[in-house]
Symmetry: C2
DNA sequence: CACAATAGGTTAATCGCATAACCTATATAA
DNA sequence: TTATATAGGTTATGCGATTAACCTATTGTG
C-alpha cells in the first residue's frame, strides 16, 4: 500500500547512462572532474525524480550520522514529566532549532543511567551528544566510557575539559539576587535548595555574597508529595522570613502558590525570588522576580561548541553564559 | 581520541570460530537450528565484549528502522517556541515514553510544510510518523504522498481512513462546558476561537448545544502581537459578557492574565473556561475550569495504533478519547 | 613527434548486518 | 539396505552510498 519504490542513486545513474560514482559526486559538490553539462543533467534528474538520500546507507558508508542525541535525565523529581518542565522544554525547543539549522537531526531520549547514553550514542553512530540533568560524577564516568564528543547543557563550574561544558554564572546570579534583596531592605532571607546539588550550592553562596551575610538554608525534597509535606511542615518557619530565594522558578512558583492558598500575600507578607527566567515566571501573578538566562543563546552555544568538537576532537571548552536579574513584582521594597 | 573500535558481529564470530550468520541468529532468537551450547557461548561472548548493534547496517539490511518520527507544525502562533507549549510538550513527553516502551526510537522535528515530513520519513526509512498541528487538507496531501503509516495526534472528526486519527471529543467537551455555564446561570457567553480551524468550530458548536442557544463567536488572531492588540480592542466587549469560553487553555490563560492586569476580577466580574487541562491551568490563580484530556492515554493510543499500522498496513482507525470538564475556580455561579 | 598532463569519467571494494540457500554428518524410517 | 529427516551449522548475496584507484581520449608541451 505504501510502497512505490524509492529512487536510488543507481536509478538516476542508469537513466542517464552514468555511473553511481558520478551521481554521488554531483550530490556532494565534487564536480571538479565532471563536465558542467553532466552536472546540470544529473541535477535536473535528481530534482525531477525527487531523489532523497537513504541515510542508513550514507551512515554506513561514511560512518558519521548527522544525528545529534539529546539525552535528558529522567529524574525522579519530575515524576515522569521531564519534557514538560519549562527549563527542559525550552532547552529542547532551542536545541532542536540549532541542530536543524546546522543540518543535523535530533534524537531525543530520557535516560536514567549513563550506560543508556553510551548505548544510544553507539548504536546510532551519533556524531555528538547533548546531555542534561545528570550529576558530576556521572559525567566523569560518561567521559571515560563514551567515544563521541558530548556537551553538558547544564554544566557545572570546573577547570578540566575532555568534554564541552555550558554553564551559567550560578554564583553571580545568586549574588545579583542577594544584592537586590539587600538593597530592598531584606535581611532575613531563606534559601530553599538541594545542598547536594553543586549548582544549588553555588547559587546559595552567591546569595550570601550579595546579601553580605549568611542566609538560612533549607533543603527541599525532590518528590512532589514530599514537597507538599515539606511546605506544610515549614509553613510557620516561612512566615518568619521576609524573603525566600528558591533555586529554580519551578520551586519558587510552587511555593508561591502554596503560600497564596494559605492567604499569604506575595510580596506584601513574603517576597519570593526565583531562578531561570521561565515562561511560567513571566505569567505568574504577581510576576516572579527571577534570575534569567538566555535559553536560545545557551542552545546556540552548546550546539556550535559540539559541532566544533565533532570536527576537531581536540576542542573542549567551558563556556559560561551570563545571567541577569529580571525584576518582577514578587519582591517588596522595605525602604 | 574517541576511537577504540566497536565490536561487530564479525568479531564475535571470529573469536568463537563461528559464522556471522550464527551470531546474528542468536541475536534474533532464531535458535532452533543452533545447539544450546553454542547459543550460550555466543550470548556470553556478546555480553562480555559489550556488543551493540549498528543500527545503520541493520536498517539497511532489513529496511525498517525502528525510528518513529514525531513532527510538529512550527506554527506561527508559537513564534518559534512550539515545544514549550504545554499541550505540545505533554505530547512529546508521553509519546517519548510510549515509543521507548515499545522498543522504538524517537526523532523529533518541527516542520512548516508537508514536504518536509515526507523527506524526513523517507530519508530515515521511518517505520511510522506521528504528526501534530497541521490542518485537514495538509493531512489529505500527506496521505497521498507519504509511504509510511502515520497517525494524527490531534486528529479531527471524520469518517475516512488510510491514516490513523486520534481525536478527542471536541463537541462533547464544548457541550459539557456550555452545559456547566448554563447551569451556573450564564447566558451571555463569548467564544474566542479560530473559526477556520475545524476543531475550534466543533468546540464552539458543542458550547452552543450545551448552552441551549447560540453563543457569540469572536475570531482570535494567531500572532502574539496581534492578540495583544485584539485584547485591547475588544476589552469593552469582553466586559459585556458574563463568561468567556476560550478554545484552549493557552488562550484562556493569556486572556485571564490580560483581564487581571486590567483589574477585572476572575471569576467575580467575568468567568473564564478553557480547554486542554494543561499543567498551566492547574497552576493558575484562580485555578482554571477547563475541559481536560488525558495526554498519557492519548499518547498510548496513538503509538499503539501506529504500531498496529506498521505491522499491518490495512489497519487505520479513528480513535476518540473522551474528555471531562474539570471544575476549577474561574467560573462564578450566578444562582 | 613523443610524452605528459588533464578532463571526464568508470570500477570495484567497503561499511555491518540479515537471510535465503546450501552443506554435511548423524539418526531414523521403510 | 537405502532413502530421508534432522540437527547444526556455513556461504554468499544484497541493502544504498562513498570513495580510492583506475581507465581512456584529448590537449598541451618541449
Amino acid at each position: 500500500m505504501w510502497s512505490e519504490n524509492k529512487v536510488r542513486i543507481k536509478d538516476i545513474a542508469e537513466e542517464l547512462g552514468l555511473s553511481t560514482a558520478t551521481v554521488s559526486n554531483v550530490l556532494h559538490g565534487k564536480t571538479k572532474k565532471i563536465s558542467e553539462q553532466t552536472v546540470k543533467k544529473v541535477e535536473k534528474k535528481l530534482e525531477e525524480r525527487g531523489y532523497i538520500p537513504n541515510m542508513a546507507a550514507t551512515l554506513l558508508a561514511r560512518n558519521n550520522s548527522r544525528i545529534i542525541g539529546v539525552v535528558v535525565n529522567n529524574h525522579a523529581k519530575y515524576e515522569g514529566h521531564v519534557f514538560e518542565d519549562s527549563f527542559i522544554s525550552a532547552a529542547i525547543n532551542h536545541l532542536s532549532d540549532e541542530i536543524e539549522n546546522k543540518g543535523y537531526f535530533m534524537m531525543l531520549k530520557k535516560a536514567k543511567r549513563i550506560t543508556e547514553i553510551i548505548e544510544f550514542a553507539s548504536m546510532w553512530n551519533m556524531d555528538g551528544i547533548v546531555v542534561i540533568g545528570f550529576c558530576e560524577d556521572e559525567y566523569q564516568d560518561l567521559r571515560d566510557r563514551i567515544r563521541v564528543p558530548f556537551v553538558i547543557y547544564d554544566g557545572f563550574a570546573q577547570e578540566q575539559n575532555r568534554f564541552g561544558n555550558i554553564t551559567i554564572d550560578d554564583f553571580d546570579g545568586g549574588r545579583q539576587a542577594g544584592l537586590y534583596l539587600k538593597e530592598a531592605g531584606h535581611s532575613k532571607v531563606l534559601c530553599v535548595a538541594d545542598n547536594e546539588v553543586c549548582m544549588d550550592r553555588k547559587r546559595f553562596e552567591g546569595v550570601c555574597e550579595g546579601l553580605g551575610e549568611k542566609a538560612c538554608f533549607l533543603k527541599i525534597p525532590m518528590h512532589e508529595k514530599d514537597r507538599h509535606i515539606f511546605y506544610e511542615k515549614h509553613f510557620q518557619q516561612f512566615l518568619s522570613y521576609t524573603a525566600i530565594f528558591a533555586v529554580s522558578d519551578f520551586y519558587a512558583l510552587e511555593l508561591m502558590r502554596f503560600l497564596q492558598r494559605k492567604h499569604v500575600n506575595i510580596p506584601e507578607d513574603i517576597s519570593i525570588i526565583g531562578f531561570d527566567g521561565s515562561a511560567d515566571a513571566k505569567n505568574s501573578n504577581p510576576r516572579l522576580t527571577t534570575v534569567v538566562q538566555d535559553n536560545k543563546l545557551r542552545a546556540q552555544t552548546a550546539i556550535s561548541l559540539l559541532i566544533r568538537m565533532i570536527n576537531d576532537s581536540s576542542v573542549a571548552e567551558n563556556l559560561c553564559i551570563p545571567v541577569k536579574l529580571e525584576i518582577g513584582e514578587s519582591v517588596k521594597n522595605h525602604i
